[in-house]
């Protein structure tokens, strides 16, 4: 317990970086996931094909592999972009990797929501002269939004925990601090593990309750 108290500052730093990773990659996943789902349900065959291919590639590849490929291949291709020493190349690589990976799951969560809307809704929209974009925006997506909250929350919970994989490519997020403390305090392993597990649980609890809140407020308008 003493270890956790003595190093509280470091632990907070670690979780701060975890949250930055979650924020950046979560935003990429949300934007890209929405574009992907529009492609997957669009009437244009080539877009559907491209969307499906993306899902097949990124959902079927282990996250660790995606991160390693980006971290070790990008510099060879000349990409070593970084904002500063805090958001360094490895942070950017992890953000992009996590974002690309989570986008596939976000897309599928959104698609499950869209599929839950009866086909009659889309047909009704089309029969009154709406275009594909109009019917998506005004009819399908607002209804789908309610159905996607639970799977979307699960996706983001998974993303929050997956940020720990970024350790493998040199990001000093929470699990790095955990390993560091473990190396310095070989006698207090259990306390350190449980302390960090608790930290992740707090983050997840926030996402879960945000999801629950959104679900409830959605239910009112039904």
């Amino acid at each position: 317990m003493q270890v956790l108290i003595d190093n509280f500052g470091q632990i907070l730093d670690g979780f701060a970086k975890t949250l930055w990773l979650l924020l950046f990659s979560g935003t990429i996943a949300a934007v890209l996931g929405t574009i992907l789902v529009a492609m997957r349900v669009s009437p244009v065959a080539i877009l559907r094909f491209a969307g499906t291919s993306y899902i097949n590639v990124f959902r079927n590849t282990p996250l660790l592999l995606i991160l390693l490929i980006i971290a070790f291949a990008a510099p060879d291709l000349g990409f070593t972009y970084e904002i500063n020493n805090y958001f360094n190349f490895f942070f950017m690589a992890a953000t992009v990797g996590l974002g690309l990976y989570a986008a596939a799951f976000v897309c599928e969560a959104l698609r499950s929501g869209i599929n839950s809307i009866p086909l009659g809704q889309a047909e009704a929209a089309r029969s009154i002269g709406m275009t594909f974009a109009q019917s998506m925006r005004s009819v399908i997506l607002p209804q789908a939004a309610r159905a996607v909250i639970p799977p979307l929350a699960s996706t983001y919970i998974a993303l929050a925990k997956n940020t720990s994989v970024a350790l493998a490519i040199g990001v000093t997020e929470a699990s790095f601090i955990m390993k560091k403390l473990n190396a310095e305090n070989a006698v207090a392993r259990w306390q350190i593990f449980f302390g960090f597990a608790f930290g992740y649980m707090v983050i997840v609890a926030f996402i879960a309750s945000a999801g629950a809140l959104a679900e409830r407020s959605g239910a009112k308008t039904r």
Binding site: F72, T80, Y86, A168, G170, T172, K179, A186, V187
Partner: protein
């Protein structure tokens, strides 16, 4: 790109070794071309019930080693067994147990993070893996030695060698090392470096060459091995700024085992076997064979 060069280097080293072997009338190593001739005790006698007796009777020992540190413990892609100074130490100890390195020694890869758990759970019998002796580690495992003393140094790109000359230049610099290593913690906590923890030292070397990190820091012995592989691109700078005393890990409380390891290594230091092992491994990078360190008492 790098592999052919490395291969050429090793081929060159092998050639030098074989030429050296010509002049040496004792000749023929026990196993591979460049390993030291290590005596194997026949029917060694150990107290009943001791760990040594058990290992000796079984004729098998499992040793936890690093396989990604040139000169210390390094396994070439495709090779069956690792080689390096730690490996030679393992052979010396196994030899005194009457175990020959003909497959009876199981070399098990350990990383910095799993050395204590491997010992605690009996996954390995001993650990010889550039394993620095610390008071904290000695609370959970036994550490006999030191059999080698080195210190933390910095490896930089050739063009940075005038810019980064010692630990005081590390503030705000991206410094790479292996996750869970003491070197990274020292660079971060004492010198204000921005740490980049990666899985292995070779990954750090990759990123150092890619300029995504600026320094690789760990024990000088390991850095020399990498600098020797890329003499035109990488350079070890500054004096050692810590003292790392490599010890041999054993199960906590096994004092007999500690006495045995300490005596064995001491004998090897006294009769020159230790120096031979050094010259055949770490010495290849051009460093002089150091004085053998004073060993700690077993408690």
């Amino acid at each position: 790109m790098r592999y052919p060069k490395t291969k050429a280097l090793f081929a060159g080293a092998a050639l030098v070794m074989s030429l050296a072997a010509c002049g040496d009338d004792s000749g023929g190593g026990s196993g591979g071309g460049d390993s030291v001739d290590i005596p194997v005790e026949e029917n060694p006698d150990f107290p009943e019930g001791s760990t040594m007796a058990e290992l000796s009777e079984a004729g098998k020992i499992t040793i936890g080693v690093k396989i990604d540190q040139p000169g210390i413990g390094f396994q070439e892609p495709g090779a069956d067994t690792p080689e390096g100074f730690d490996i030679e130490m393992g052979r010396i100890i196994a030899g005194q147990l009457g175990i020959e390195d003909d497959g009876s020694i199981e070399w098990k890869e350990t990383i910095s993070d799993n050395r204590e758990p491997f010992l605690e759970e009996g996954e390995v019998d001993i650990v010889i893996a550039s394993y620095s002796i610390t008071d904290d580690r000695r609370k959970v495992v036994g550490q006999a030695g030191p059999y080698y003393v080195t210190g933390q140094q910095l490896l930089v790109r050739e063009e940075d060698k005038d810019k980064i000359t010692g630990p005081d230049d590390l503030a705000g610099v991206k410094v790479c090392s292996v996750e869970g290593s003491t070197s990274l913690a020292t660079a971060q906590d004492e010198f204000g470096a921005d740490p980049v923890p990666l899985g292995t030292y070779s990954e750090c070397v990759d990123q150092l060459e890619n300029s995504t990190v600026d320094v690789l820091t760990t024990d000088g012995a390991i850095l020399l091995g990498y600098a020797a592989e890329n003499p035109d691109e990488l350079e070890v700078v500054g004096e050692p700024f810590s003292e790392e005393r490599y010890g041999i890990g054993y199960q906590l409380g096994d004092t007999e085992m500690c006495e045995f390891i300490t005596t064995t290594i001491q004998d090897a230091m006294d009769d020159g076997l230790w120096a031979d092992a050094f010259e055949a491994t770490l010495g290849e990078s051009g460093v002089e064979t150091p004085e053998s360190p004073e060993m700690d008492e077993c408690l």
